[in-house]
């Protein structure tokens, strides 16, 4: 059985009277690349902060690399084995790139100097420049370098490609894939669903603090299908109350149905309505995400 | 709306300095008897002038003007909101002048209200102190000391950081006070003497005389406007 690197049990965080995270039962297996999706304010960053001991849970518990997130001492050991990029990529404005690297590397005995040099060249980071004078994209690249060179078992990345141009984004995604192939597990949040779809093998979707989806990406995409129907008369509506239909949209005599299960039955019933044409296609992650958060 | 923004940004600093000035005035007045002064040498009015209008009230108010002058676009850059402010349909010089006007108003209130409180505190210990006399000293201080507020505006226009303007401004102002007091040739320009009425106050009334330092006041007010003008020029040329 695959070991879980991250697991939470009814993890909850309340700010005042507002539940930012609600009874979260998250599982991230070893060796996976898990994309963590959610709307703005859905609780992604709060969850990540709790996993890293920056914020204390109001209820529930969690384990990261086998250590409890409620144990401050254990949290230090966890952080020695993970690489982290925060949502806010600001670094110490009074340090140069070189000083930031020297400072960070002092905490990680397994620091990859070879990877550091490679990334410095690849990202074209000016080593003598103060981080306060770097562009947003360069700060993001530096933050990634500081995380990736730690030789971490687990990378926790909060919007790692934010502010990067498409070329740099592609470089980062390929690098992450390579690291995953080398045994590093990755848990990352992103608003760029296409990126998640490109590299993740597992997806967790959070909405209003609650986890609504948590499964492998292939399985998720396998489950969802879009059924396009064309009629030569008015579109019949009553048949839509079939289990598995998540959403439907009618446009004149055309109808589009999104289904998450029971596909064969839905297709059989749709066919019985004698449409002019019926087409069943796959659905991308963006549509699944939009549908999941809408209905939730 | 720029007025609202300027007020909102500065109100906690204003409340803090006003409370501090009131507390300090109250503490000194109420502690009068503990000083065991010989009334024949220094009466209550003389005590108020020496400890407050010449020393602590004067110093605290001057330092508080630097505190009230904090803010502006460089501070907003530090906070990350400068681009938002600059995207609004308002000229930079207008934003600065509004901020300066609000701050100057706050600085004036920070002098006048505590000055008015001195006679009230005096009543609590069975002493009397004319309200008009108190207000006259405060008005002299405000008129002459606004140059330090303008200096604070200039520093906050040129320097970034949470409290860099204060950290640089306080020693400079303290240096001006100390330097002009210690150097024989500059003693006539000492702000403490000029704007506390030291040249005209005398026992037993310890009130402001008829001859105020008009030329010093004129120079100080002129310099205050000049510093403000420089701040406007610098602000217009800042790059973000």
């Amino acid at each position: 059985m695959t070991e879980l690197l991250i697991e939470t049990h009814s993890l909850t965080k309340t700010y005042g009277g507002v539940e930012a995270v609600r009874s979260l039962n998250l599982e991230v297996p070893e060796g996976s690349i898990c994309g963590f999706l959610g709307k703005n304010g859905s609780g992604k960053s709060t969850t990540i902060k709790m996993l890293l001991g920056m914020t204390w849970p109001s209820a529930g518990n969690g384990m990261v690399l086998g250590q409890s997130i409620r144990d401050a001492r254990a949290s230090v050991e966890v952080r020695r084995r993970i690489g982290f990029v925060s949502e806010d990529k600001r670094l110490y404005h009074y340090m140069t790139v070189e000083q930031m690297i020297r400072f960070t590397s002092s905490f990680f005995p397994k620091w990859r100097v070879d990877l550091e040099q490679q990334l410095l060249r690849q990202f074209q980071l000016p080593v003598k420049r103060k981080t306060g004078h770097l562009s947003k994209g360069m700060r993001t690249k530096l933050a990634l370098l500081l995380a990736l060179c730690r030789e971490a078992e687990l990378l926790i990345l909060d919007e790692p490609t934010e502010g990067l141009d498409p070329v740099a984004t592609e470089e980062i995604l390929q690098l992450l894939t390579k690291m995953a192939a080398g045994g590093t597990s990755i848990f990352f949040s992103s608003h760029q669903i296409a990126e998640v779809e490109q590299i993740a093998d597992r997806v967790a979707i959070i909405n209003d603090g609650s986890l609504i989806v948590q499964e492998s990406l292939d399985h998720l995409k396998e489950r969802y299908r879009r059924i396009q129907l064309l009629f030569d008369r008015d579109v019949p509506q009553k048949w839509l109350k079939i289990p598995g239909i998540e959403a439907s949209h009618a446009d004149g005599r055309a109808m589009s149905v999104l289904a998450s299960s029971n596909i064969d039955e839905i297709v059989r019933i749709a066919a019985s309505l004698e449409p002019v044409s019926i087409e069943v296609t796959g659905v991308n992650l963006k549509e699944i995400f939009l549908e999941c958060v809408r209905e939730s | 709306m720029p007025w609202y923004k300027a007020w909102h940004e500065s109100k906690s600093r204003f409340v803090y300095t006003l409370a501090g000035m009131l507390l300090m005035s109250g503490l000194f007045v109420l502690s009068y008897k503990a000083w065991n002064l010989d009334p024949a040498r220094v009466n209550f009015r003389g005590f108020v002038w020496h400890t407050l209008y010449f020393r602590f009230f004067h110093a605290a108010w001057v330092f508080s003007t630097l505190f009230l002058a904090l803010g502006g676009l460089p501070a907003e850059r530090h906070d990350g909101t400068a681009l938002f402010t600059l995207s609004l349909p308002a000229r930079r010089w207008r934003l600065l002048l509004v901020r300066a006007a609000v701050g100057a108003g706050e600085a004036t209130v920070t002098a006048m209200v505590p000055a008015m409180s001195i006679p009230m505190f005096a009543l609590l210990i069975g002493q009397g102190y004319p309200v008009t006399q108190s207000l006259e000293f405060a008005a002299l201080l405000v008129a002459g000391g606004m140059v330090f507020f303008s200096f604070g505006i200039l520093l906050s226009t040129c320097l970034r950081g949470d409290w860099a303007p204060l950290a640089i401004g306080l020693p400079i102002v303290a240096g001006i006070y100390t330097g002009t007091r210690s150097t024989e040739a500059l003693r006539a320009y000492n702000p403490q003497d000029l704007f506390s009425g030291a040249a005209t106050v005398q026992a037993p009334a310890w009130a402001l005389g008829a001859s105020l330092p008009w030329s010093a006041l004129g120079f100080s007010i002129g310099l205050a406007f000049a510093l403000l003008l420089v701040s406007i020029v610098v602000t217009e040329r800042l790059e973000f």
Binding site: A72, F84, K89, Q99, S106 | W35, P171
Partner: protein, 252 residues
């Protein structure tokens, strides 16, 4: 904790505070030097004493009295305020700047982060005291006078030890108050008030820290203010403990 990590955290704290330290150092050195250079004028009765104090001109009572009244007593207040300001900063400020997440993601405990910052602040405050007081015997020959190095350093040590609670107060106030200049302003004004209050309100004078900081008992009768220094150390320990507890459970 690995030595290299500790060194790096100290280095980071130093980088954060070096300009503030440099400015504070300049202020105290200029004050010390300026005060010494004013001695001849003071001795010629050029200084106007505050009449309410009924003090005879300190300079007329010799170098030692002048140094105590006009330099060390004023330096004590200045140093205390600067020490509090130097102690401000920390995780709340870093949260405002957006770097708290990065620092907290490193494999080191919050306690150690605070401890290192406290150590650097105390070290800087001590350096300020030593430098300011060392300026006195260094500068007096310029006005054809002399002051004992040993005496100056003893006063500096009294100040540094008895004033340690001010540096730690800056640390404490930074974990409680957020926002820009506020911790420094409130810290400095509280320090000033605590020093001045004992002078103007007689019921507080017994507990006033100012006479301890300025080494008044040592000046008057050669007695080191051990009790005051101990109280300061205890207060510093309590404040640091309180700050550690707050930081430990705070959300960032």
């Amino acid at each position: 904790m690995r030595t290299r990590e500790l060194k790096m955290l100290c280095y980071k704290s130093w980088l954060e505070t070096r300009w503030g330290f440099a400015l504070a150092l300049m202020v105290v050195l200029v004050f010390s030097l300026g005060s010494v250079l004013r001695f001849p004028d003071a001795a010629r009765a050029g200084l106007r004493d505050m009449q309410v104090h009924n003090h005879p001109n300190a300079a007329l009572r010799g170098v030692r009295t002048y140094t105590q009244v006009e330099i060390f007593e004023k330096l004590a207040i200045l140093w205390a305020i600067l020490s509090v300001m130097l102690g401000t900063g920390g995780l709340l400020r870093e949260r405002r700047l957006g770097t708290a997440s990065f620092l907290l993601s490193l494999p080191t405990s919050r306690m150690r982060l605070l401890g290192v910052r406290c150590a650097v602040s105390v070290f800087e405050a001590s350096g300020l005291a030593l430098a300011a007081y060392a300026m006195v015997p260094l500068a007096f020959p310029l006005v054809h006078q002399s002051y004992s190095w040993g005496l100056a350093l003893r006063y500096a040590l009294i100040l540094a030890v008895s004033g340690i609670s001010f540096a730690v107060f800056g640390i404490l106030i930074s974990v409680v108050l957020e926002g820009g200049a506020w911790p420094a302003i409130i810290g400095a004004s509280t320090a000033f008030l605590s020093l001045v209050l004992g002078e103007i309100v007689t019921s507080f004078s017994r507990y006033a820290p100012f006479p301890v900081l300025s080494g008044e008992s040592y000046f008057r009768c050669g007695v080191v203010p051990w009790a005051g220094m101990s109280v300061s150390l205890v207060a510093a320990t309590l404040m640091l403990t309180f700050a550690l507890l707050i930081v430990k459970w705070r959300d960032f």
